[in-house]
Symmetry: C2
Subunit: 399 residues, 2 copies
Amino acid sequence: MAAMGTFTPSYVAGYACPACGARYALPRGLCACGQPLLVGYRLDALAAAFGREALAARESSLWRYRELLPVAPPDEASELAAGGTPLLRLARLGAMLGLPELWAKDEGLNPTGSFKARGAAVGVTALAALGVRDLCVATSDNLGPAWAAYCARAGLRLHVVISDDVPRPTLRQSSIYGAEVVVAPGGAAAAFALAEELARERGWLNISAFREPYRVEGKKTIGLELAEQRGWSLPDAIVCPTGGGVAIVGIWKAVEELAALGWLDAQRPRLIAVQSESCAPIVAAFAAGAERCGDSPYADTIARGLRVAKPLGDRLVLRALRASGGDAVAVSDAEIEAAVLDLAQLEGLFVAPEAAAALAGLRKLRGTGRVTPSERVTLLLTGSGLRRWDLLEERYPVA
Amino acid sequence: MAAMGTFTPSYVAGYACPACGARYALPRGLCACGQPLLVGYRLDALAAAFGREALAARESSLWRYRELLPVAPPDEASELAAGGTPLLRLARLGAMLGLPELWAKDEGLNPTGSFKARGAAVGVTALAALGVRDLCVATSDNLGPAWAAYCARAGLRLHVVISDDVPRPTLRQSSIYGAEVVVAPGGAAAAFALAEELARERGWLNISAFREPYRVEGKKTIGLELAEQRGWSLPDAIVCPTGGGVAIVGIWKAVEELAALGWLDAQRPRLIAVQSESCAPIVAAFAAGAERCGDSPYADTIARGLRVAKPLGDRLVLRALRASGGDAVAVSDAEIEAAVLDLAQLEGLFVAPEAAAALAGLRKLRGTGRVTPSERVTLLLTGSGLRRWDLLEERYPVA
């Protein structure tokens, strides 16, 4: 993606590549070195001009944090209101796990039923402002539907490539919003290759994870919101289901920016990545002390959203885990299914398997003592269980 | 249901029967005359002690309106955060319909994916505070799942009777939360009779629409929230998909209470009920000038939540429609399906057929001039399309 235009939102300082140190004044997709770019802000100017107390009376959507976002809020006709999700106490599960302070952020209440709406809200708004008209993406789970909804709302064209082995709901939920859906044979790797080829041939923008710098900014609002909901203090540990790892990078970016602004107390959260045993490159690299992910086994799982074999942002994810003193753990489908039922029946939260993986991972880390009873823990419940009606119909028992 | 206890939330004045005028100091289910009770508040005392500006800094859930609710907010362990749904402009559909001020309240972003969460949030909290342990209900759509989630969260037992002809998702979505599900042969009428029989035999509380006074209070918060989101002014018309009619009664109660408090400007909204042609007793009674509903035809429809043949609150619903200068209209399944696709593809909102009926009904009323271009209109989009994956898989086209 070449330079895209000249809009200048108030506090954006430019675009930086953490891998090679390059800096760009104008927006672009990847760094010239092929690695992801992050948006930088003039935080000193922001801190001088704006106080966090001004947020209290604002709308509950993620645009309440507009000074820390790379683009002005969309007009009313395009706004679809991501964010503002509840932070809920898990008292029963906390008692079972010996964690008196266990909470969950219920991201399934975002538009389209998943936290991907945050990235799509900021991404579509920023790209539309830059004049981009056609987006293209390969999706294995909830990314396609989220971007399809926001593109429909903003009047952008989205072309979704779906491999022929994804769960049925991904196809149906993308299609209902009028996105063009291309079904690709050959599995996820082939779908990603086809999306890249289509983008190059047709001049579409490929918005796969980390290929544009805006989605991370949307996911960052999870961290901003969590801090504000907890009175500008973050928990001791945040447990994040992890596929491509955009949420981890975004939440850590929120921590760094809030700290730089002086809006956060001294407490810094450990970030904990949970992956599926079927595909856990981040877990393997974290355990090995590696800077980047190696080749990873790649089997089937009910948590398709966690199955990313070669995350483009691996370096940023691993850096965030280590900088936070965090951890990484892989869980099995059986552990995920048990967690789905526990969350529904003990806490009234029916979540997607990807989201339930957070509880399964926490249970494992409690079992081995890597999370201790004194830790205040927040689970990131990334999506609603309604999105996976195939599992609801075929896997989970009827009472 | 006999008198249930002696809790006294701050501004509750008692329970009144609009049909016979009876008043009760203690909570109970129905009036002795068999008609629904409504909660009364000491609005003068409330207006003297509390100002609407104090709401601005509160949580976004419906408990922000706690002074106008019949029970104190639940503790953190039971809170599931209904309400706080976005109000979205429908610019493209507004242009198509010649309505420059067309908006939608997206109630699908409530827990469990529908506005029923509001009634369940207040209902379960109030009934739990009164010591009720076992609830029972017949459901044809999204009521069962909503109450199942809140009961799971609060530790109450819910027994859901589902007739054997309901859409598949109702059974599955109720069951996942651990509610006891009884499948009843013989259709909706038989299921309602069985729920009544089970309640009587086992001493459970039957919480069908209007059989307890709390659900209306939860639904009332739609009106409170809409007023606050619009700067304490309501639109000229609110279009409400209508089955049992609890939302209509609740929203009108909000209008009356806000007006009595002096919190609302002079504008009063017309309430417009939309039903399915397959079962439209409110529409028929409204057109006939009747005070109550008569026998109604009862055919199949994709909008099962609208199919209530004998609404217990018919008198209250019809009174609200007439007092507001409102209207009532019935729509076909084909009109509903077209509305589902229009909302998804033009506005990025994938809603349940019941919700889409609001748009279908508005289109009809615009066609006949019963809604005029100068009217500022809000559609109540009652639930998410994800709840009806059977339709998504079988009825709607793949792009």
